[in-house]
């Protein structure tokens, strides 16, 4: 059986079901790289230019982890994943970065995914991918349809508020610091790219920790994208990054909805898209609501103590705002 390696990084956290289902239906064996760990980051950082952001380095690490384990390696080239929108340039170019810096790669399935002009292009991408494994067009078509169905199903489940357990990264791999349950009725929105929010190693188990505090978590995937897109029209110029639309539109929905008690934005150091998007979001939150907002910047330094302290302080602040008085500052 042909082995297809999929790096567990970047958009794997969004499309894992789609890809896995598609390749299985085509009769391939799937090898997903190990969960992100210290070694992944170390290997990635060693092979990647130092200026790249953390998720890119982690992706490098995952690719290196797959070397020698698979016949094919699936490195899709993302240009756009929704109409009239782009992906961050680094993610768009990561395939070429890897091809030019890691010398011994297995055969690369280098599908281009560009839905900027038309969403029908996703079928063309699937066809291109499938042809690496089989000549049977019909088989590809069926596999594509089944995969799409599975993916949509998963999205639907996520929208109802259930986390598809951080994409199979079952929690509890790191010993958690002593966590005291703070509350049972607080909800916090976690804002960030799917590859920082769901990768529990690089965000130091943020979601798991929040849950242990007894806090409900909302992520951007639980919000309606069409609605977000509609809300973004209040800007003079539409954001041309997919993530920007999701985050900005999402935050407006959350503010209007009023059901959340705090917002945590996680971003990786040097993220160009976030430097603008989070800035816009922060201004929006601060000017139109009194929801506490905290920005956490992630990088390779995995000093958990400082991270925990800030998180604890933030959570305590929210709890006290609710129970003691309403005069606690919304700043951090």
């Amino acid at each position: 059986m042909v082995k297809v390696g999929i790096p567990r990084g970047l958009y794997y956290y969004k499309f894992s079901t789609l890809w896995e289902k598609f390749f299985t239906e085509l009769g391939a064996e799937i090898v997903v790289s190990d969960k992100t760990n210290k070694n992944t980051i170390l290997e990635g950082a060693n092979h990647c230019v130092s200026e790249a952001c953390l998720p890119i380095k982690v992706y490098y690490g995952h690719v290196i982890n797959l070397l020698g384990k698979a016949d094919f390696i699936f490195l899709p080239r993302f240009t756009s994943i929704s109409r009239k929108q782009y992906i961050c340039p680094e993610v768009a170019g990561v395939q070429d970065m890897i091809k030019n810096s890691i010398k011994i790669l297995p055969r690369v399935i280098d599908t281009e995914i560009n839905l900027r002009k038309s969403e029908k292009n996703s079928w063309l991408a699937a066809l291109y991918t499938g042809e690496f494994l089989t000549d049977d067009k019909k088989k590809i078509k069926t596999a594509y349809e089944h995969a799409l169905e599975a993916y949509r199903n998963e999205r639907r489940i996520m929208k109802s508020g259930v986390m598809v357990d951080e994409f199979k990264q079952e929690t509890g791999t790191l010993p958690l610091r002593v966590i005291q349950k703070r509350s049972t009725s607080i909800t916090v929105a976690v804002l960030g790219h799917c590859y920082t929010v769901y990768d529990s190693f690089i965000n130091m188990e943020l979601i798991h920790k929040l849950r242990e505090y007894g806090i409900g978590v909302v992520t951007l995937d639980m919000l309606d994208y069409q609605e977000s897109k509609e809300r973004c029209k209040e800007l003079h110029k539409n954001l041309f990054w997919d993530y920007g639309t999701r985050a900005y539109g999402g935050i407006i929905q959350l503010i209007e909805n009023g059901g959340i008690d705090g917002i945590i934005a996680i971003t990786s150091f040097g993220c160009g898209v976030d430097s603008f998007v989070i800035e816009l979001v922060e201004k929006k939150v601060r000017s139109e609501s009194d929801i506490p907002f905290m920005k956490l910047v992630l990088d390779e330094h995995s000093a958990e103590a400082g991270f925990c302290t800030r998180l604890e302080a933030f959570v305590d602040m929210i709890v006290r705002r609710g129970t003691i008085d309403n005069n606690v500052s919304t700043y951090r």
Binding site: C48, V49, E51, A52, R77, T79, Y86, I87, C88, P89, E90, A92, G93, V94, D96, M97, N100, S101, D110, E112, N114, L235, H236, K237, N238, L239, F240, W241, G270, C271, G272, V273, D274, S275, F276, E279, L280, K283
Partner: protein, 371 residues
């Protein structure tokens, strides 16, 4: 309405001729200095890139002189530049100054909106009139790039050190006394003649270095510590393929008319970077290949900290370096204004390529390429 615009190298001359021809009122902001950067950095979050900070600095300094409208160009690529307009407006509102931002691009609302914006700047809606003025501005841009190119060649060969800079510097301030594209063009032609007359060492075979990278950092002398002058005065001939006139012709004219606009550089880069990642990543990689093929001694790659497309090209450049055996040095510019460290790196690089060329000539090629 008093218009202003950000500084990118000699672009202020183009903008000046453009606005003069329309008879609009405008203010040329003071040239970029540490003060400009300080002002910009004060009002922008740290994660924003250097060009944005300098844009904000320009905006504030122009506002002090009375400007109330900022004219910039835009885009819709994944590079951050496409969103500068909106962010500048938000920053101006936050600082509390009254500053309108006009972005010259084809916006979401279509060509009608672009026409409205042009009308706002020009005060005329006569399409032929506008086309003529834009064409004249293009001619000024081409002439400016000719002067820059000539200055780069002359500098590496000048007999009397500083003779080129004396003419070049005086022209940058003197040009402000002329009005309209006709006068400016005439003045620029005179300068070109003056430069051509300068005595040079005809026998010199200077080292050749190509400059590639992000457009703002490579063109704006403040953002690259006048690297062209620095190298030129070390006796190195500099070449920079990405120019303002090239940008106007390729990204404004040809794009608007849907003409094919793939140059040699973009074709060469396709082997390394297949899809579009925005910014000038393709030009950076392609031009490195082109320079290598033309037998240049080295390439310097410049970009501001946090520039996404150039990080991609930085990761790819080592492969080009190896395939074409050309030394490449990447220098990243941030708000730190330590010029000495920058000089040291450039000097070391020049020493390396000089040594490398000598050994090449003696056929004892032992030097490592790169770094």
């Amino acid at each position: 309405m008093i218009i202003t615009f950000p500084h990118i190298g000699n672009t202020y001359i183009i903008a000046k001729s453009f606005l003069d021809d329309f008879g609009s009122e405008y203010i040329v902001p003071p040239f970029n200095t540490n003060k400009t950067l300080e002002l910009g950095a004060k009002y922008t979050p740290e994660a924003h890139c250097l060009p944005f900070k300098l844009f904000v600095g320009n905006m504030l300094q122009a506002h002090q002189l009375g400007a109330d409208t900022m004219l910039i160009t835009g885009g819709c690529g994944p590079c951050k530049l496409g969103y500068f307009g909106e962010m500048l407006k938000k920053t101006a509102d936050e600082i509390g100054i009254n500053m309108d931002v006009i972005t010259l691009e084809v916006p979401d609302q279509g060509f009608k909106e672009l026409a409205a914006r042009v009308r706002k700047v020009s005060g005329t809606s006569n399409i032929f009139n506008i086309a003529r003025v834009v064409n004249d501005a293009k001619n000024v841009a081409v002439q400016l790039d000719n002067i820059e190119r000539l200055a780069r060649i002359k500098r590496a060969r000048q007999l009397e050190p500083g003779s080129v800079d004396r003419i070049y510097r005086s022209f940058q301030t003197e040009v402000l006394n002329y009005k309209g594209s006709k006068e400016i063009l005439k003045f620029l032609k005179d300068i070109e003649k003056k430069l051509k007359k300068l005595p040079v060492n005809e026998k010199a075979t200077p080292l050749k270095v190509g400059i590639v990278g992000e457009i703002y950092t490579t063109i704006e002398p403040y953002a690259n510590f006048s690297i062209e002058r620095m190298l030129g005065n070390m006796g190195v001939e500099v070449d920079r393929q990405v120019t303002i006139s090239g940008w106007i012709i390729n990204d404004m004219f040809k794009k608007a008319l849907h003409l094919p606009r793939e140059g040699e550089d973009v074709r060469e880069s396709k082997a390394y970077l297949k899809s579009m990642v925005g910014g000038h990543a393709h030009h950076t990689i392609g031009n490195t290949v082109v320079h290598a093929k033309k037998g240049y001694d080295g390439v310097i790659h410049l970009y501001p900290l946090g520039c996404m497309p150039e990080i991609v090209s930085q990761a790819i450049l080592p492969a080009v370096e190896e395939n074409h055996q050309i030394p490449v040095m990447t220098i990243i510019r941030d708000e730190m204004t330590g010029e000495a460290g920058f000089n040291t790196r450039v000097e070391a690089f020049v020493d390396l390529i000089r040594k490398r060329r000598e050994e090449h000539l003696n056929e004892q090629n032992k030097m490592l390429y790169g770094y």
